[in-house]
Symmetry: C2
Subunit: 334 residues, 2 copies
DNA sequence: TTGATTTACTAAAACGATTTACTGTGCCGG
DNA sequence: CCGGCACAGTAAATCGTTTTAGTAAATCAA
């Protein structure tokens, strides 16, 4: 029950392998193969259900029509949604996506890059972490299109698509201030990537611009892979601080953890205490009361990423790098 | 800047390609290569950073150390969570996972199977849909390990791992009845797959066993890809029916839609009106009040799938098919 | 001492495609 | 009638591995 090969087709059609290959790859006209032969071979291919072996093809040509997507964690809804959008859009253009999660683990990220490299993916879409700059640089040296998204690695010269986290976070804090909040906390993660830093800086700038006292005590940095219970403990402490009247969460999963803790300690969200989340999550809208959040335009981000990739892939020469910053939107609910 | 090949290593080490290959594949001892040569070659490999070309390797051996995972929709948290678990577990055993979504589209599913086939994945994990039985049968004929999960296709003789949806759904309805509910609705989807049918049958059996009147009017079948607005309209109608005092949702996304509608029409969840969800979702626990749900044991399902796959892959002969049904748990909240 | 076995290693085929460089014909212009 | 060119197609090299079927030298048993 072995799969058919191009040789079998050539044999059946009584032509050479070369001829079959030309026909499959649409080079028949150019190579002046007669219409009769083209028809015959195509019919045989259809009848026999022959599918070219992509592995052999990749070995020979060095590419694969596959785009590799490397993200932090597929079970985070921000990433799974964007993965889905990218997948859809790429699929329509004849590209397949294969994706995998790094879990913010440098080694795993490196292995994934190597996996994708050894599978000869045509291009890379990466939400990167510190520590893989070199590995990405190698891809760039090999002239592979690389699009970073969600987070940038400024030391690399490549393409980047992301939201304007600084502005978004500034606006969120500003909206708190306009509601009369004075002691605004930020709950963020300790991972040292640009988009997280930007969120912090937007927060800080707003506090300072509006002449509120900035205090380190109001900034809670939760280690990325910290156990839920420890996180809950830290959050509880923060929420029990009577002075705190507003909290901005820098990621959706931190917001979810925060909301769980609030529920547990039965602290109400009302005119005395407000929160804003990040990246949206179905639970935000559904929550009572609904949770305001900073929404990244997923559709637009996915679209832009795919457009950049396809441009690169279809161009013979290296295109200039682009850094595309898309505004994020503050969604105020209730 | 071309990548090194085994040839380069052989040249540097002054041995044949064959020797290098044996050493790389741990067959050196068996093929009686001297320790001195082994050391030398290994050192050169390390120093040069040589990585075998997996494409060439796959072409020659016909396998890839990659497991293909085909799911309905990666942006559904049930699937993204299970994908993540499967990925983790496979990774620890030296296998990589590549995944893609079918969106319940037969054609896309078929294309994905072909994609994976042409990439020579070693095994398939599939949450199948009706209409791809033949394609899966072809895989089975080629002796590829196939594990179906979440949904079974009973006409296929292969492995299946899934939860006991009939019992879970029966118990959910039972718990409603014990709370004194009399007009229990079911909101489900129209996709005709076993696990959905089971959920319906568990519902129906419980209604009948407890001598409640069964009525088609209380069963709402929402088409899979229906626009959110139409779904909302149908749900609204159902909820406005004053008689309905409890609703079981057959999927998590339907439950989310339902909760959104309830919020919108401001219908409270109290002693007069209760709901139970399916598959859990962060929003369920967080909701006020918390939403009870039927929880599938994701960890156990993922573990079982991987175990089955690895058994198959490591066994020379075809192992007997296994149908593993894992109990789902009704989580009552509040 | 000799034939068999073991040790240490290698040449070359194979996997299934793509692609380069050909070959032979027929026709056309001068 | 001959050189050149378009046409229709093909042989063979190639991508980078694995693996089969060796070979030559060393060792061993009798």
């Amino acid at each position: 029950m072995k799969a058919l090969s191009i040789k079998d087709i050539a044999l059946k059609a009584n032509v050479s392998i070369t001829t079959v290959s030309f026909i499959i790859n649409g080079k028949a006209k150019e190579k002046s193969i007669s219409d009769a032969v083209i028809k015959k071979v195509q019919q045989i291919i259809i009848d026999s259900g022959y599918k070219p072996n992509q592995i052999a093809r990749s070995l020979r040509t060095g590419n694969s029509n596959i785009i590799g997507l490397i993200i932090e964690d597929i079970s985070n809804s921000f990433f799974s949604r964007i993965a889905r959008l990218i997948e859809d859009k790429a699929y329509k253009k004849g590209y397949k996506i294969i994706y995998s999660s790094t879990e913010n683990n440098v080694e795993k990220a490196q292995e994934l890059i190597n996996l994708f490299k050894s599978r000869k993916v045509d291009a890379y879409i990466i939400s990167p972490i510190k520590g893989i700059e070199e590995d990405i640089q190698i891809l760039l040296n090999e002239n592979k299109p690389v699009i970073l998204f969600d987070r940038n690695l400024p030391e690399l010269n490549t393409n980047y698509v992301g939201a304007n986290h600084f502005v978004a976070s500034y606006q969120a804090v500003e909206s708190f201030i306009k509601q009369g909040k004075r002691n605004i906390a930020l709950v963020t993660t300790d991972i040292d990537v640009q988009q997280i830093v930007e969120r912090y800086e937007g927060y800080k700038k707003a506090i300072i611009d509006y002449a509120l006292p900035y205090s380190e005590d109001l900034v809670l940095k939760i280690p990325f892979n910290q156990k839920e219970e420890s996180t809950a403990k830290e959050l509880k402490q923060l929420f029990k601080n009577k002075d705190v009247d507003a909290v901005l969460f820098a990621t959706n999963y931190l917001a979810i953890s925060g909301l769980k803790v609030l529920k547990q300690i039965d602290k109400k969200l009302d005119e005395n205490f407000a929160v804003i989340g990040y990246d949206d999550h179905e639970a935000f809208e559904l929550h009572t009361p609904s949770i305001s959040t900073i929404q990244q335009p997923l559709e637009e981000i996915a679209e832009t990423i795919i457009k950049l990739i396809l441009n690169q892939l279809s161009s013979k020469t290296k295109l200039p790098d682009q850094q595309i910053i898309i505004p994020a939107k503050l969604i105020l609910r209730n």
